[in-house]
């Protein structure tokens, strides 16, 4: 309790409500930091690329894609309190939704889905992710706590082993995507265009999550996180709301998977191993679950540290793990909570 922000006194009684809070929020430190961060996220790789350094564009493209995945996970983890340990499965599904149609369009067979059309890939990624989320969510959400973690992980591993066993699509060895999704107006073969597409998608994802968590729907899933019994007693069937949140989250992550396939032009089951799901959880917790942009901070720190530390030692996981434990133990609200206290507030 002592860590809560200082008591907020009523500014004025009449209509003190939405308008004034919204007004104050628009100019809050957290929001300014978020904007600055997003500008840096775009400026650094683009400037480096224009200066002739392609390395950073590569890193940052990966970063924006994984940020979308982490932002999607945060919708159910940070705001819904649902610790999904199988989210990487959506990344894989989305990537295979690009890889398999491209594979068939080049090698023939399975004409129904053979295509290099990017809009079709995205539609397929979204559709498959939604169906998978609906089925696994409908079952998983009947459990709580540790059981939910275990069952989402089990579903994730099922997809992992399915991908391993389907030799037509490379099985364990993975599948090379010989052609990127073709989209109207832009070519994803251009690294700058690919980054722009991913970055725009991240902004859209942040905006969508921001709208959702502040909507009627959002306050119900946030309420169910803290106090499910109370939400039920008020008259909300938490299960239905959580299921929709789970599906939305899965769809966003599947979309990120389609981007990832286009970025790496190679997919393998390793992409959806449970350790990958764990990394997504790390990003969310590290950055601050409960702040919309928190996972972007988490993903940035995660990837940059990985990049830097792995240059010094192949045992970089050890100090990295210690950092994570420290973050969980000592920093409430993750790094974004540390930067500006209000960022840890749940409605930013």
């Amino acid at each position: 309790m002592s860590e809560r922000p200082a008591i907020r006194t009523a500014r004025s009684v009449e209509g003190s409500v939405a308008q004034q809070r919204g007004f104050a929020g628009r100019f809050s430190l957290a929001r300014r930091l978020t904007l600055v961060g997003l500008v840096v996220l775009a400026a650094v790789p683009v400037l480096a690329y224009l200066a002739g350094n392609t390395f950073w564009l590569d890193i940052f493209t990966r970063l924006t894609i994984l940020s979308i995945a982490a932002v999607s996970l945060n919708l159910i983890l940070g705001f819904g309190g649902l610790v999904s340990f199988g989210h990487a499965a959506f990344l894989g599904l989305g990537a295979y939704a690009v890889g398999i149609p491209v594979h068939h369009s080049i090698n023939g067979g399975f004409d129904a889905i053979a295509s290099t059309n990017g809009l079709f890939h995205i539609a397929l990624a979204v559709g498959v992710s939604a169906a998978y989320a609906l089925v696994t969510g409908a079952i998983s959400l009947r459990t709580r706590g540790v059981y939910f973690i275990m069952i989402t992980m089990a579903f994730g591993q099922m997809v992992f082993y399915a991908a391993v066993s389907i030799s037509a699509y490379g099985g364990d060895d993975g599948l090379t995507i010989y052609e990127r999704s073709s989209l109207p107006f832009i070519s994803l073969d251009n690294p700058l265009a690919l980054f722009a597409w991913c970055y725009g998608s991240l902004l859209a994802a942040l905006f969508v999550v921001h709208r959702i968590v502040n909507s009627r729907f959002g306050v119900v899933i946030r309420g169910a996180k803290g106090n499910e019994e109370r939400i039920g007693a008020l008259g909300f069937d938490a299960y239905r709301y959580r299921l929709l949140a789970y599906v939305i989250s899965g769809v966003m992550c599947g979309y990120a998977g389609a981007l990832l396939g286009n970025f790496t032009t190679f997919i393998s089951p390793a992409m959806m191993d449970w350790t990958r799901s764990g990394e997504l959880l790390f990003m969310v917790i590290l950055g601050g679950a409960g702040a919309v942009a928190g996972p972007v901070v988490g993903a940035s720190v995660f990837l940059l540290l990985e990049e830097v530390m792995s240059r010094f030692t192949i045992y970089w996981h050890l100090p990295f793990g210690i950092l994570l434990i420290g973050c969980v133990l000592f920093v409430r609200g993750g790094i974004s909570g540390l930067l500006g206290q209000p960022a840890g507030r749940r409605d930013d």
């Binding site: 309790m1 809560r4 922000p5 008591i7 907020r8 006194t9 009523a10 500014r11 009684v13 003190s16 409500v17 939405a18 809070r21 919204g22 709208r211 959702i212 502040n214 909507s215 009627r216 729907f217 959002g218 306050v219 119900v220 946030r222 309420g223 803290g226 106090n227 019994e229 109370r230 939400i231 039920g232 007693a233 008020l234 008259g235 909300f236 069937d237 938490a238 709301y241 929709l244 939305i248 749940r346």
Partner: protein, 248 residues
């Protein structure tokens, strides 16, 4: 005579070897404040949870306004008009006071599969919520984070949330628990002002019970041993022995 708001018959609930609710039958009449008293561990909260739907009974029936709600889950019971408060204060501590009540209003105001419009700008939720806060005397706390309220204020907030759906029956689990005497007096005043509201009240504070209750039922070891008017209960030998702790 009009039908009771709630009619409970032969309600039973076991936890392992413990019979927490043992063949309980009681009526809550229209507009009545019905208090349930009994020693610790008598099964009062269990009974309340069976009536509000958090728990499922092993047997017996709960009829609400002529409708069998025995098997209805809690969220569906809220919609037929049964609201409850919790013994351990159960507000959303991270939300503001106003947000808390607005969320309670929202539960009875259309569906909540609206994912885009900012909920804080919905006047149809904010205004009724503010009105409830005004009634409860919490309007000057509207912008506070609920977790920062005093204990008594949180209990008032909880009551405001329970009242948000204009329930036909209010189930209150020890609304005065842990309160100072000023806060208790304030809560008694608030509850007393809810004219015509059918209430089932669990309470340990005997002053509150005898001030508010129209009728009292005494629960001991999961069984109701007496039901009657306050004076009748006060005079009942068995009740005095079992509960009021007087040796006769």
């Amino acid at each position: 005579m009009t039908d009771p708001v709630m009619r409970v018959r032969g309600l039973r609930k076991r936890f392992g070897g413990v019979c927490a609710t043992d063949d309980v039958s009681l009526d809550v009449l229209v507009g009545e404040t019905h208090a349930i008293i009994g020693p610790n561990g008598a099964g009062k909260t269990t009974l309340l949870s069976l009536l509000s739907g958090q728990l499922k009974p092993d047997g017996g029936s709960v009829i609400f306004n002529g409708r069998d709600v025995t098997r209805l889950p809690a969220h569906a019971r809220a919609h037929v008009g049964i609201a409850r408060s919790f013994q351990v204060t159960s507000v959303f501590a991270d939300l503001t006071v106003h947000d808390n009540v607005a969320l309670a209003v929202q539960a009875h105001h259309g569906h909540s599969f609206r994912l885009w419009h900012p909920v804080r700008k919905e006047r149809s939720l904010r205004e009724p919520a503010f009105e409830l806060l005004r009634v409860m005397g919490l309007d000057d706390r509207a912008d506070w984070i609920a977790g920062n309220l005093s204990h008594g204020e949180r209990r008032q907030l909880e009551l405001a949330m329970a009242l948000a759906g204009a329930p036909k029956l209010l189930l209150l689990d020890e609304p005065m628990a842990g309160m100072g005497s000023d806060e208790t007096a304030r809560m008694i005043e608030i509850l007393g002002s809810l004219d015509g509201q059918a209430m089932l009240l669990i309470e340990h504070d005997m002053d509150a019970v005898f001030t508010l209750a129209d009728r009292i039922s005494v629960l001991v070891s999961g069984r109701i041993i007496a039901t009657g008017l306050p004076d009748h209960i006060r005079a009942n030998e068995e009740v005095r022995r079992a509960y009021l702790g007087e040796s006769v």
